[in-house]
């Protein structure tokens, strides 16, 4: 798999995601500085990592969404190339309008770092085919602004077209207000673009790839990507 991880000033989980990609595919991804205008030739997957790009000042992801490299990421996505945005990466994708909606401050107004169950909503995508339909995975969240919201039309479109990737849930896969850790509309933790080649998600699968460090439920995502690329 040829993966590229874009690093912005203030990114801070780029090493974590690079490690997860390498673990799954055996190949270290290219690290691409935001000021570049092109992705490395032959890039299959672009990853926008977690962190606090530009300090999350103004709005999270806003300044990074306007950096040089994002034009190349847009073009890559338009060609059907795979794009994954995790946490700050998701925020950047929304600000860049590669995904609809916006991530507002958590409803409890606090940064929250904790384990959280997610329900995998579909498994026919490049990102999730290694999971089982409806599988409940245990990953972690670490964000202050993960409260996804969009106007009613956009929400309806996302739901109708089955573009919800993950929802916050309990250990049995039940979605309820109690398991909605940040106030997101319909407990949405991650969404796809219309062609399902772009995924944005708040939780951090890259920090759950190791039995010794909390568990391995994040691996499925990277293994899905790695096998798809290898094919």
């Amino acid at each position: 798999m040829k993966a590229a991880v874009v690093t912005f000033p203030g990114s801070n989980r780029e090493r974590d995601i690079a490690r997860a990609l390498k673990h799954a595919s055996g190949v270290a991804p290219a690290m691409v500085w935001h000021a570049e205008t092109d992705l490395p030739a032959g890039t299959d997957l672009v990853v926008l990592p977690g962190g606090f790009s530009y300090g999350d000042y103004l709005r999270c992801g806003a300044i990074a969404a306007r950096s040089n490299i994002m034009a190349a990421v847009q073009a890559h996505a338009a060609r059907g190339g795979l794009v994954l945005g995790v946490c700050n990466g998701f925020q950047i994708l929304c600000e860049a309008q590669l995904l609809p909606g916006v991530l507002m401050r958590n409803d409890r107004l606090r940064f929250m770092c904790k384990r959280q169950n997610l329900r995998v909503e579909r498994t026919d995508t490049a990102f999730t085919h290694r999971y089982a339909q409806g599988q409940v995975i245990d990953v972690c969240i670490a964000h202050g602004e993960g409260n996804w919201t969009a106007d009613a039309d956009a929400v309806a479109r996302i739901e109708d077209k089955g573009l919800v990737a993950f929802r916050y849930c309990d250990a049995n896969g039940v979605v309820s207000p109690e398991t909605n850790c940040n106030g997101s509309v319909n407990s949405i933790a991650g969404i796809y673009s219309e062609k399902r080649n772009v995924l944005g998600m708040m939780p951090h699968p890259e920090n759950l790839i190791d039995a010794l460090v909390g568990g391995t439920d994040g691996r499925g995502l990277f293994e899905s990507l790695a096998s798809r690329m290898a094919a």
Partner: protein, 739 residues
């Protein structure tokens, strides 16, 4: 020198915190009246914070060396060798006074400062910890302070990208007007890639790096050393604002630069900014320094030399650069969008010369600014002797199951999850033991090694008996590291005390240091860095003596570690170490009986070491994986915490007849660990313990859904957890922090 400069009046000297005799000493040193800039410089260098004038004498007695110590006290951070060419740099520092005035920004800048101390040494931060003390929960400001400090610590560390993996939080009315915010940072370096502050070579450029200089915290260092009065809410000094984004850029730029073999010396700008950093670099390298302030990147118009020299703007560094590397270095800083300016050079004059607008605004002997700083042997008296309390003389006001449930839901003993869930404790993907265990465990890169990290102190013990309290703080840090399977290697200390000009406070300081030193020596646990914070006092009332200990230990293989959670029904629990039912200064006596008194539990360092080495052996051989050290709240609380973590009940065996039940359950004898394993393993451990002369006693068996104390109503684990988990969120409910 400048004609328009203000006259140096005795009032002005006093405002700078210099005592008349200190000023006289300075006059003698320079042989003329100083300029205002010089007065500012000396006031910064000679205040308590920079000169350690009250504490230096006593700090000298601490053990600071061991074969694995690469750098002891005296640099930005201490450094220890953890094998395979890897080193750990770490230090702890306080930001108490600023955090009381502006909790969010005070805490952020505290965290930022300590992270800089660590990466200045060439180490990439891999973990942060903190130790917090707040006033009584009933005090009107407490909630706001908790909310702001916790948000600030998280706000900075989360954005910077370091996992905050441990710490401690306590409440006591003696911190009402003077909270404690102690922050610790831990970084990973290569033993051959460590950077120091001593300048070298004459005529080398001195480079300013990072953010611009503003009028932030001018006289912050002086403020930190002046006793608070009732008006401090009104003082409204220029508060420093933390910028974790700039710090992250500074980290990456510094580490990138350090790869290029261009750095001769590097020093962060902390308290008293440019003054302290420039003087220290020169003095340590036996060189003079000349600064040209016209080149200092400023954020505000018309800043005077005085202001630039005393500004405490954050996220700045000073560096001595190899002249031929200037362009390469500058390109790196520009890439990261940071300021880079040559602001002076090293000289062979041993003078500290500062120029601004073509004028010399300061010209001082550089070594003497440090070496000739006042040094005090302040009078000290040891505290009144507290009697040992006979456990039989203390009646139990409630049954033990009720006392247990109550204790678990007190401000000091409740779960601190509400706090650490606001800290990103998982970033970097190496947190093997997250907050909530005994010590945190952070794996070193892909393993198998890891470090065990903790911060500890029991202020009420220190107040009751400073020497025992000092010993206990070190012993507890050592024990927490041991309880996860780590070999304790070294500590950093953060000595928070009241006004040293009061002989009883000075007595606490001297006593605690004596105890710390004894414990470090006996446990092979030297001090490699630290910080002193004095004058923690409001309206004449001092805080509890609080010498926070930050401990670092090593696990050769992180897969062999222990956690507190009970694993399965049928496992047998046992305590390693002797239980006498020591009730004096226990939280039971304080929170259940309403008596804050008595002598604290004595710390026998030889026993401490023997018991700990035994337990560590059990973990390292893979025999035992469930261990919890026994501290506040004694056996009952330790066992209940293990039950809550594992979601399994425990039935206590018949309690011993020779100790009152409540003293057995809640007494705080030291050097103890509760372990759990299957029955056969526990029997084998019993035999080993006997052979090794280590006290061992079976406590009970895991199973069911309640903690059962013989003859009492079972306490459901779920109910205990409810009280334990909810005290803090309930207390904080409704408070929103709004930085």
């Amino acid at each position: 020198m400048t004609a328009t400069a203000p006259r140096i009046t005795p009032e002005l000297v006093a405002e700078h915190g210099l005592k008349p005799d200190e000023y006289a000493r300075f006059l003698e040193l320079i042989g003329r009246e100083p300029t205002i800039t010089e007065l500012g410089i000396v006031s910064a260098m000679w205040n308590e914070h920079c000169s350690y004038k009250s504490s230096r004498l006593h700090l000298k007695g601490l053990p600071t060396s061991a074969p694995w110590v690469i750098q002891g006290p005296g640099e930005n951070a201490g450094v220890i060798d953890i094998g395979d060419g890897d080193a750990i740099a770490f230090k702890m520092e306080s930001h108490n006074h600023p955090s009381y005035i502006e909790p969010y920004q005070g805490a952020t800048t505290g965290v930022g400062g300590i992270l800089r101390d660590v990466f200045t040494m060439g180490a990439r931060p891999i973990a942060a910890l903190n130790a917090l003390r707040f006033g009584s929960p009933d005090h009107p400001k407490t909630r706001h302070l908790v909310s702001g400090v916790v948000a600030g610590i998280g706000g900075y560390g989360n954005s910077f990208g370091v996992p905050t993996v441990g710490g401690s939080v306590g409440f006591h009315t003696r911190y009402d007007g003077n909270i404690l915010v102690n922050a610790m940072a831990v970084g990973l370096a290569k033993t051959d890639g460590i950077f120091y502050a001593a300048a070298a070579g004459v005529g080398n450029p001195i480079v300013y790096l990072g953010s611009k200089t503003g009028r932030d915290g001018i006289h912050g260092a002086t403020m930190a050393s002046a006793e608070f009065d009732a008006n401090s809410d009104e003082k409204r000094p220029t508060v420093q604002v933390g910028d974790p984004f700039a710090e992250k850029l500074l980290l990456e730029a510094c580490l990138e630069l350090m790869q290029t073999d261009s750095v001769i010396a590097i020093q962060d700008m902390g308290a008293a900014g440019l003054t302290c950093s420039a003087v220290e670099m020169g003095a340590k390298g036996n060189l003079g320094v000349e600064l040209i302030l016209d080149n200092v990147p400023c954020r505000e118009e018309g800043m005077s030399a005085y202001e630039m020299m005393l500004s405490e703007s954050q996220e700045r560094m000073l560096m001595v650069l190899k002249p031929e590397k200037r362009e390469e270095a500058e390109a790196i800083f520009r890439k990261w969008g940071l300021d880079f300016a040559v602001v002076g050079y090293t000289t062979d004059t041993l003078r500290f010369v500062v120029k601004h607008h073509g004028e010399t605004v300061a010209d001082l002997p550089i070594k003497e600014l440090g070496d000739e700083a006042p040094l005090y042997d302040r009078p000290h008296i040891s505290n009144a002797f507290q009697p040992t309390i006979d456990p039989a003389s203390v009646a139990a006001p409630v049954d033990n199951a009720t006392a247990l449930a109550r204790l678990l839901a007190t401000p000091d003993m409740c779960s601190k999850r509400w706090v650490w869930e606001q800290y990103d404790h998982l970033i970097l993907g190496n947190t093997v033991q997250k907050p909530g265990g005994d010590a945190a465990i952070v794996r070193i890169e892909d393993g198998p090694k890891g470090v065990a990290l903790t911060t500890d102190v029991t202020p009420r013990y220190c107040e009751a008996d400073p020497v025992q309290g000092g010993r206990q703080a070190v012993a507890e840090a050592w024990r927490n590291i041991t309880a996860v399977g780590g070999l304790p290697l070294a500590i950093t200390d953060n000595l928070n005390f009241g006004n040293p000009e009061k002989p009883d406070v000075m007595g606490q300081f001297v006593g605690c240091l004596k105890g710390i030193g004894e414990a470090c020596l006996a446990l092979d646990f030297p001090v490699v860095s630290g910080n002193v914070s004095l004058y923690n006092e409001t309206q004449g009332r001092s805080i509890l003596p609080t010498p926070t200990i930050g401990g670092v230990g090593l696990l050769d293989d992180v897969t062999l570690h222990a956690t507190v959670a009970l694993r399965q029904a049928g496992d047998v629990l046992a305590v390693i170490g002797d239980t006498t039912g020591w009730i004096g200064q226990s939280v039971y006596l304080r929170d259940i009986c309403g008596r804050e008194e008595g002598a604290p539990p004595p710390v026998d360092l030889a026993v401490e070491r023997r018991n700990g080495d035994f337990v560590r052996g059990l973990i390292r051989s893979g025999k035992v994986t469930t261990v919890h050290d026994c501290s506040d709240g004694g056996l009952a609380v330790a066992v209940a915490e293990m039950a809550m973590a594992g979601d399994i009940g425990v039935s206590f065996d018949t309690l011993p007849a020779d100790i009152p039940a409540h003293a057995f359950l809640f007494g705080e004898d030291q050097a103890r660990y509760v372990i759990a394993a299957d029955a056969a393993t526990i029997d084998a451990v019993a035999a080993e313990a006997k052979a090794a002369g280590v006290p061992f006693r079976k406590l009970g068996v895991a199973g069911g859904d309640a903690v059962n104390i013989p003859g009492e109503t079972p306490a459901k684990v779920a109910d205990l957890r409810n009280g334990h988990d909810n005290w803090l969120p309930n207390y904080m409910a409704g408070e929103i922090d709004h930085p």
